[in-house]
């Protein structure tokens, strides 16, 4: 079959070349549109539902909103885990679906379920909103807005109606959240003292306000009916009537009379007499600090399928357009711009690739001494990679670092493929032409290709088999690394296809009538002259070389346990985030004060370019937290020294007491959050309805587990309690004045939390109108106690007269999982035998009695890791067996197969030593390097041994030292070419060092260089001797004759 493919390609050579050229051109245009990002989408499909419930405490948000929603959403098709987080003013439910679920279909199903439960939710909660689908690294831009001249409310209106609306139009933008937003609201701030003075009730004020507006929101007030206009029909015309609202500002609203009442001096009582009617804003759930003062921070998020670079440029252009019309506003889009990192990374990679390509071309030209062959080899490389990329593009994948890493591993194979084919074709062409052979060029090319191809298929199979375990890592780590295996497989197959079709075709076209036999590769002859005597001596006395090899191998494997492990790459992004969290329960003013303080200090550090802080929550945003939570975002300028500036930043941040603080990059934070979860070895999660009960069960669990040997750092999850003012109506006291608890609650709610009573529509915008109280009347706990509550008889009582107002502990955040409250008891295991410890843990847990409705489950990385490790071990063993069988099929000789199998890992020794001397860590990049070296070493070894067998079988060489010498010399050129081409292509990467974009490529290049040194030395100097010792085929052993099939006499190249 292969023969027919190559044959057809030779016949249709021009068509093949046209197709290849067409594919390259097409690929170049498509590549521009391919979304580029740092990470693959490794998180499982996720749907988040947020319900804003302004004024509700965490427990009420949980019981009134989270619980009914969870009950309705449980059991949606494909749902894996459902978690919820309830904080004051917000309920957030996260639904994680099984990997592979279609995200859009999942959203559809969730939406349908939500419709069934929305009517039953309390009316003071806004309708639940399904958050737009966002990428796992969803935040791709942060924009700081500040102004010297505009007020915060004016800024907020512009930000929401103009800036946000414009940015949402940019393709790829999923959501824009505004921190620090203070929407303009006309607000009727009731002054309880003046209200009591004039004998007006809270209900009066609310009703009057709602009725005064065209659109009132109070359901049972007159204002709920919107008066329409109607029309008048004259005999000739129909004239429509439109009432134009005359209340468009707070001043006018303040003049509205209150129920026909009169003041002491006879003038009508108006709203201004009992309240301050002002332009104000809603109760703050968060804030933002830009450049040292309160401002707005816009966070832009993208869809999972969006192209970060394109979306970033789109948003920047939109902002440039808008800025012209907003002179008083300072818009800073550079606070956080991950596109910077991507641009720098790809620029660096491109530069390294171009330099590498030039070096490869030089190598090939030097060895083959014929520019045409160098060109053919060089063309094969991008063709293979482009084919792989196109396939990925059509499967909807993003171009990310994992895919690039897969291609990079494949480069070894691709380069090798390109070289060995061409080298063998050229060599055979030269041989035949010098011998005066009249065989057609096409036939020579065909035979030469097949000679190489049959051997190389086995080597390629080995490379693929080695990578199969990656598909079985499973879990989220598997999703992270799978694109690597996929892109590698694609590149390898594409390379094989190119070697079977395009390379022979090009060779034929370019070398058809070219007298290449007249050009001798001078450089190669010189190498042969150097190599032959050394090898001859080694073949005569192999023992010392064997000894040295064994020692080096031992050293290499001894080094292995000394190397650390750090599998997830740490990217040198120049954007950082630093948490600045005060104790839960802290006020927004204090959080703002300390965040501004930290911000001013960090901004003073040389090299820090931008700084923006967001505190608490924003509407439709991705943070679910209290106002004590602050995140600082800063970026370092490109010319500042990375490590030095980072150290200075850490020094400043960690110098503040009393805060939870850290400094990390966004990418690392995302990895931590999604992939690693808890850092402890295992977690005992206790589920149940009552918090106190599960707390005491957690105590029982801790008691039971604490003396198991090997357990360390056993602790119960800290449940943060905050002081909360609890108001419990005393029924007897309330009865005495004719009040019902509901009345008390509603009255207190309006005064303490505010109530929206209507809307004003103006210039295409809707302004909520709000009834609240003056800030002075809710300034302290005593103010709550003294809150006047209207009684049915027309008087007032103080809240403390009818209710118990006291401070009690409360949860500031309530977590639920799979529709139940939960608490975690976690620990690390520091014993060698993880399995035995976990069995003991399980035994002890089984002995604990749980009341009805409570249970415990054990989770842990360990379980997944163990399962994954067992799986991988199984497949690794299977892979090893597979490799052995492939070697057997290739060599047809058991002893050779065993020999080949045992010497394969030794090629990696150089890589291990190189990794040891430059960083002591095995990282993802090193692993990629090992795989590349392994691939090349396997191919070279198989090619060499197959060549020996070929010489024996087809060219009449007798098994012996001469065979070993000749075979090795003939393979010297391609082995060295591949080694030098691959090695030198990586030199630019090594010289550039550990710069952005090279986090994976740099350690990989080091390992590959080290590995290539040892594997090449091994192949050139040790394998020939080994072959002599062990490679005697069963037929040859003792007889010394070989089966000759052709009578062709081929002159040796060493004459």
């Amino acid at each position: 079959m292969i023969r027919s493919i190559v044959g057809t390609s030779l016949k249709l050579r021009y068509i093949i070349c046209l197709l290849a050229a067409g594919m390259m051109v097409y690929g170049m245009t498509q590549l521009r549109r391919m979304p580029v990002d740092v990470f693959p989408e490794f998180a499982p499909p996720r749907v988040e539902i947020q319900t804003a419930c302004n004024g509700l405490s965490a427990e009420e948000a949980e019981s009134f909103v989270s619980v009914p929603l969870e009950q309705a959403l449980n059991g949606v098709d494909g749902l894996d885990i459902m978690r919820s987080k309830s904080v004051p003013d917000l309920s957030s439910i996260e639904m994680y679906f099984k990997p592979g679920t279609d995200e859009l279909r999942a959203r559809q199903l969730v939406q349908e379920r939500m419709q069934t439960v929305i009517p039953s939710l309390p009316t003071w909660a806004a309708p639940p909103v399904m958050m737009p689908p966002v990428s796992v690294t969803g935040r791709f831009m942060k924009i700081g807005i500040s102004s010297e001249t505009m007020s915060l409310t004016d800024m907020s209106m512009v930000a929401y109606w103009t800036i946000r609306a414009r940015i949402m139009q940019v393709p790829g933008v999923a959501n824009v959240a505004i921190w620090g937003e203070r929407i303009k609201l006309p607000q009727v701030q009731i002054d309880p003292k003046r209200m009591a003075q004039h004998n007006v009730t809270v209900d009066d004020v609310m009703e009057v306000t709602a009725n005064a507006l065209d659109v009132g929101l109070l359901q049972f007030s007159q204002g709920a009916v919107i008066g329409t206009g109607g029309f008048v029909d004259t005999p000739n015309q129909r004239l429509h009537i439109r009432p134009v609202s005359s209340i468009i500002s707070a001043a006018e609203l303040g003049q509205v009379p209150v129920h026909n009442r009169k003041k002491a001096d006879g003038t009508p009582l108006v709203l201004n007499d009992v309240a301050n009617v002002v332009i104000h804003t809603w109760p703050l759930i968060g804030d933002a600090v830009i450049d040292g003062k309160t401002g707005l921070l816009l966070i832009v998020e993208k869809y999972p399928w969006a192209n970060t670079l394109e979306a970033t440029r789109g948003v920047e252009e939109a902002l440039r357009e808008i800025q012209i019309g907003l002179p008083g506003l300072k818009i800073d889009p550079t606070i956080f711009r991950p596109a910077d990192f991507i641009e720098v990374a790809f620029h660096n990679l491109q530069r390294a690739l171009v330099l590498g390509c030039i070096l490869v071309m030089l190598i090939i030209a030097a060895f083959l001494f014929e520019w045409r062959t160098a060109l053919i080899s060089l063309l094969a490389i991008p063709l293979s990679l482009m084919a792989g990329v196109l396939v990925l593009y059509y499967t909807g994948s993003t171009l990310n670092t994992m895919i690039l890493a897969g291609f990079v591993i494949a480069i070894g194979v691709v380069v090798d493929d390109a070289i060995i084919d061409v080298e063998n074709i050229v060599r055979r062409l030269r041989e035949h032409r010098k011998a005066g052979d009249t065989a057609s060029t096409a036939r020579i090319i065909l035979d030469a290709s097949l000679e190489v191809r049959q051997a190389i298929i086995h080597a390629t199979l080995i490379d693929v088999v080695v990578l199969i375990p990656i598909f079985f890592i499973g879990g989220l780590s598997g999703a992270f690394f799978q694109p690597l295996a996929v892109s590698y497989g694609l590149a390898v197959m594409a390379s094989m296809l190119v070697a079977l079709t395009v390379t022979p075709a090009l060779c034929y076209i370019l070398l058809h009538n070219v007298p290449i036999e007249h050009r001798e590769p001078v450089f190669v002859r010189w190498l042969h002259r150097l190599y032959e005597p050394v090898l001859a001596r080694i073949i005569r006395r192999p023992a010392p070389v064997f000894a040295v090899t064994a020692i080096v191998m031992l050293v290499g494997f001894a080094v292995l346990p000394l190397l650390g492990e750090s599998l997830f790459p740490e990217f040198k992004e120049r954007d950082f985030l630093s948490h600045c969290i005060t104790k839960p329960g802290t006020s927004v003013q204090e959080e703002r004060r300390i965040a501004t303080q930290v911000g001013n200090e960090v901004r003073a550090i040389e090299g820090v370019r931008n700084f923006g802080t967001h505190i608490g929550m924003a509407l439709l945003a991705d943070e679910v937290c209290g106002v004590n939570f602050g995140e600082n975002w800063l970026s370092i300028s490109p010319d500042a020294d990375y490590d030095e500036t980072l150290d200075k930043i850490k020094a400043v941040v960690y110098a503040h007491p009393g805060l939870f603080r850290n400094v990390e990059t966004y990418l690392n934070e995302r990895i931590d959050e999604v992939l690693t979860g808890t850092s402890e070895t295992f977690v005992v999660r206790i589920y149940g309805p009552d918090l106190k009960q599960i707390h005491s069960l957690a105590d029982n669990v801790e008691e039971a587990l604490k003396d198991i040997p090997g357990i360390a750092n056993l602790h119960i999850q800290l449940q943060s309690e905050v002081p909360q003012i609890q108001v419990v109506v005393d029924l007897q006291k309330a009865l005495k004045v004719g009040l019902k608890p509901g009345d008390v609650r509603r009255a207190a709610a309006t005064l303490l939390s505010g109530e929206e009573v209507g809307d004003i529509f103006l210039d295409g915008k809707a302004y909520d109108v709000n009834v609240w109280s003056t800030p002075e009347s809710r300034h302290s706990v005593d103010d709550v106690r003294n809150l006047p509550i209207d009684t049915p008889s027309g008087g007032h009582v103080k809240l403390a007269d009818v209710a118990d107002v006291a401070i009690r502990p409360a949860q500031s955040v309530i977590y639920r999982e799979n529709a139940s409250r939960r608490i975690d008891v976690s620990a690390n295991v520091e014993a060698a035998d993880l399995g035995a410890v976990m069995t003991e843990v399980q035994n002890r847990l089984d002995k604990i009695k749980y009341p009805l409705g409570y249970h415990a489950e054990v989770f842990g990385e360990y379980a997944e890791r163990q399962a994954a490790q067992r799986r991988m071990l199984l497949f690794a063993i299977g892979g090893g067996v597979g490799v052995f069988l492939i070697l057997l099929a290739s060599f047809h000789n058991t002893r050779l197969a065993i020999l080949g199998f045992l010497t394969l890992p030794s090629a990696l020794v150089g890589g291990l030593l190189a990794a040891y001397f430059t960083g002591h860590v095995i990282s993802l990049g090193s692993l990629v390097g090992f795989l590349t070296v392994f691939g090349i070493a396997a191919r070279n070894k198989i090619m060499l041994i197959n060549h020996y067998q070929h010489l024996e079988a087809y060219e009449g060489e007798v098994f012996g030292p001469r065979l070993a010498l000749r075979g090795a010399i003939e393979r010297l050129s391609p082995i060295l070419m591949t080694a030098l081409a691959t090695g030198l292509a990586l030199v630019p990467l090594v010289i550039a060092g550990d710069i952005p974009g090279h986090e994976i490529e740099y350690p990989m290049a080091i390992v590959i260089l080290g590995g290539m040194v040892t594997s090449t030395l091994l192949n050139l100097f040790v394998v020939p001797s080994l072959y002599l010792q062990f490679g005697a085929s069963d037929e040859n052993a003792g007889t010394g004759t070989a089966h000759v099939t052709t009578a062709r006499v081929v002159p040796s190249l060493t004459s």
Binding site: V559, E590, I594, A651
Partner: protein, 147 residues
Amino acid sequence: MRTRHWIMAALVAGSLPLASCKKTETAEEEIESPAKVEHLAGDQPARITLTEDAVKRIDLKTSPIAEADEQGAKTKTMPYSALLYDTQGDTWIYANPQPLTYVREHVQVKRIDGDQAILAQGPAVGTQIVSVGAAELYGSEQEFEEE
């Protein structure tokens, strides 16, 4: 041939002494902790010692407990910003008995008047108490999670 042997041997010998290589300490360990909390015996609240740098960083300010005249009776007043509530509703302030040392002390509030708190019970008049930065001291005392 001999030279190659020596080169190999030298490589092997040279790699052994380079075996030790400590990981660099993380920045957190290198930086001196800004607050030191000593938990005293019994029910007494902890004693917090800050470094001078830490005090500057959080811009901690103190003011003395003042005397006030309330309808003839003498009462104490202090800034409202010094007041902290615990989960049981008890009220506290941070006293500053020695430079850089802070101890939580109990107070009883009669009422709040604007930005002043009128105390029914509290430390002696003239005691320096923390009026800005009390929240950070409270945060140093007890561990809390990132949430």
